[in-house]
Amino acid sequence: MTIFIIQVLNSLFYAASLFLIAAGLSLIYGVMRIVNLAHGTFYALGAYVSAWAVGTAFGHAGGGGWHLMGQLLLLPIGAIAIAAVGAVIEPTLLRPLYRRPEEYLLLITFGLLMVLEDSMKLIFGGTPLSAGTIMDAMGSIPIGRLLYPTYNLVVMAVGLGAAIGLWWFIYRTRFGVILRATSQDRRMAAALGLNVSRVYIQAFAIGCFMAGLGGAVVVPAQAAVLGMGVDALILAFVVVVVGGLGSLEGAFIGALIVSFVRTAGIQFFPEIELAVLYLIAAAVLLVRPTGLFGRA
C-alpha cells in the first residue's frame, strides 16, 4: 500500500512538471500555430538558470530557515529569465516567418534548439547543476514506513497552482479574452484593432515562462543535465497530442495520463514504456486528431 501511495505521489510529481512544459507548448501552438521544437530546451534552460542562481547566491551548503526561504524565492528566476528570452526571440526570429509556409517556423525552432543546447553547455559547462540543497533542507515526511521528500509536494502544489492560475488568466481576464480571440482568428483580431504583435510576444513569453518554471521547480529534485530538454520535448508532445493541441484542460489531463502510464510502465513493462506512450499519442491522433480536449 505504501509503495502504491509513493507511486501515485511520484506520478503526480512528474505530472506537475510535465504539465508546466506542455501547457506552455500548447499555449504557443494554440495562439500562434507554432510547434516549438525548442520548448524542451527552454525547460532545460530554466532548470540551469535556477540551479545556477541558487548555487551562486547561497553556495552549496545547506542552511537554516531563512536560507531556505531565500533559495525558494530565488528559484523562479529561471522562469523569468526564459520569459525574457522568449520575448526577445519572438519578434526577432519568429515574426519574419509568419507569412511563409509553416515548415520554416518549425525549422527555425529546430535551429534555436541547437543554438540553445550548446549555449547551455558553453555557459554552464558539461557537469550537472543542481539545487539539491533546497530538497535537503525541506526534509521529508513519513508515508507508511517510508520517507517522501517534502519538496516534491511543493512541486505538485506549484503545478496545480499554475494550472488554476493559467485557467483563471485565460478564461477570466481581459487579456485572456484577447488571447483567445487572437488564437481563433488572427486577422479578425487585427481587424478589430487588437495589437496582434503584442499578443504574440506576450503569448510566447508566457509559454516560455511556463517551460522555464517547469525547469525551475524540478531542479531541486533532479539536477539539470545536458539533453534533458530534448528528452522532455517529446514527452510534452505526447501530452499535448493526447490532450489536444492548444487546449489547457488537455495539457492537464494529458500530463496526468502520461505520467501515470509512465510510472506504471516503468513498474510493469519497462522495455516498452516509452513505446507505449508514443503509440498512445499516435493512436489518439488517428482516432481524434484534435486530442481528447481539442477543438477542431
Partner: protein, 332 residues
C-alpha cells in the same frame, strides 16, 4: 520564387550534366586524401536519404519529422543481418535493409498520410520515436546505447568479388566503398529523377499544389501520398543500409528525432524546391557538421546559427538561391 517549370525537362542536357559531374566525382579520390574520400562517401549516402525525404517535402508537400526511423531501420536491419545471420555480402544487406524499411514505411505511411501539415509531422515524429525507444530499451537485442558494430572491412562487395583482408584493409575498404556508393547513388538519383518527372511525380506535385482539384481530376489523394511515403522511406532506408559499414557502428542516435531534424536541415540547406538541392545540401551539411565537430566543442551552436540564418535569409537554399541569381543575371 517560381520553381524551374518554365522550361521543359531536357533529358539530353540533364544527362550530359549528370555524366560530367559523375566523372568528376570518379576522378576525385585520386586527387584528395582518404579521409576526404570517406567524408564524401558519407555525403553521398546522406544525399540518397535527403533525395528520398524530398520526394515527400518537395514533391508531395508533406514535411516528415520522422525520417530517422527509416534511416535507422535500414541501418539496424543490416546490423542484425551481419551480427545474427553472419551475412557478409553487402548486396544481400542492402536488399534486406530496403525490404525492412519498405515494410515499416508502408505501415507507418498508411497511418500518417491520413493527415497533412503539422499533424502529419507530429505523427511521423511520434511513430519514429516508437522505433527509437525500442532500440534504446531492448538492449539485449540492439545493444542499447552501445549499438551494434558492423566493421566495413568484414563485408564483401559485388557478391564476394571484392573483400578486405590483410594490411591496409580499412583504406582499401574506404576507397572501394566510395565507388560502390557512387554507383548506387548515380543509379538511385537517376531513378528519383525519373520518378519526379513521371506522370506519378506530376500527380504528387498536383496533390501538393491543390488537393481538392487533384481529387476532381480523379486522383485518390491518400493512395498517392502513401506510395510517395513508401518510396521515400525506401530511399532513406537504402541510405541507412549503406551508412552502417562505413560508420562501423549503429546506435539509437540515428533513430532519435534530432536526426530527423538533420535530414530536414540538409534538404532545406540545398533547397527543397529543386531536384539537386537535397544532394548538394546533404554533402554540404556533412562537411559543415564534420568540420564544426572537429573544430569546436560547440558544433551544434554553429549548425544552429547556420540553420537560423538560412531560414531567415536564404529560404530557398543553396541551389534555389543560385538559380534565382542565375535567372536574374540572364534577364539583365
Amino acid at each position: 520564387m517560381n520553381p524551374a517549370a518554365h522550361t521543359e525537362v531536357s533529358v539530353t542536357r540533364t544527362s550530359i550534366a549528370a555524366v560530367a559531374i559523375l566523372i568528376g566525382l570518379a576522378v576525385l579520390p585520386y586527387v584528395i586524401d582518404i579521409y576526404q574520400v570517406q567524408l564524401l562517401t558519407y555525403g553521398l549516402i546522406f544525399a540518397i536519404a535527403a533525395l528520398g525525404f524530398n520526394l515527400l517535402l518537395g514533391s508531395t508537400g508533406l514535411l516528415s519529422f520522422g525520417h530517422s526511423a527509416y534511416f535507422g531501420v535500414g541501418a539496424y536491419t543490416v546490423a542484425f543481418m551481419v551480427r545474427d545471420l553472419g551475412t557478409v555480402s553487402m548486396e544481400l544487406c542492402i536488399i534486406g535493409g530496403v525490404i525492412g524499411t519498405t515494410i515499416i514505411a508502408a505501415l507507418f505511411g498508411y497511418v500518417c498520410v491520413r493527415y497533412t501539415r503539422i499533424f502529419f509531422g507530429i505523427l511521423t515524429l511520434a511513430l519514429s520515436q516508437v522505433i527509437w525507444s525500442l532500440a534504446f530499451k531492448f538492449f539485449w537485442v540492439t545493444g542499447g546505447t552501445d549499438g551494434i558494430r558492423v566493421p566495413g572491412r568484414g563485408m564483401t562487395l559485388l557478391a564476394g568479388l571484392i573483400d578486405f583482408k590483410g594490411s591496409g584493409a580499412f583504406q582499401k575498404f574506404v576507397f572501394s566503398y566510395y565507388y560502390y556508393v557512387l554507383v548506387i547513388f548515380a543509379v538511385v538519383a537517376a531513378l528519383m529523377w525519373v520518378i519526379v518527372h513521371s506522370p506519378f511525380g506530376m500527380a504528387l506535385k498536383a496533390i501538393r499544389d491543390n488537393e481538392v482539384r487533384a481529387r476532381f481530376v480523379g486522383l485518390s489523394v491518400r493512395r498517392y501520398r502513401w506510395f510517395a511515403f513508401i518510396i521515400s522511406g525506401a530511399f532513406t532506408g537504402l541510405a541507412g543500409a549503406l551508412w552502417v559499414p562505413l560508420n562501423g557502428l549503429t546506435t539509437p542516435d540515428i533513430l532519435y528525432w534530432p536526426f530527423s531534424g538533420e535530414i530536414v536541415f540538409m534538404t532545406v540547406l540545398g533547397g527543397f524546391r529543386t531536384f539537386t538541392g537535397p544532394i548538394v545540401g546533404a554533402i554540404a551539411f556533412n562537411y559543415l557538421k564534420t568540420y564544426a565537430v572537429a573544430s569546436s566543442a560547440y558544433w551544434q551552436l554553429v549548425l544552429g546559427v547556420v540553420l537560423v540564418v538560412l531560414v531567415l535569409v536564404l529560404p530557398n537554399g543553396i541551389i534555389g538561391t543560385a538559380q534565382q541569381l542565375f535567372r536574374k543575371l540572364r534577364r539583365h
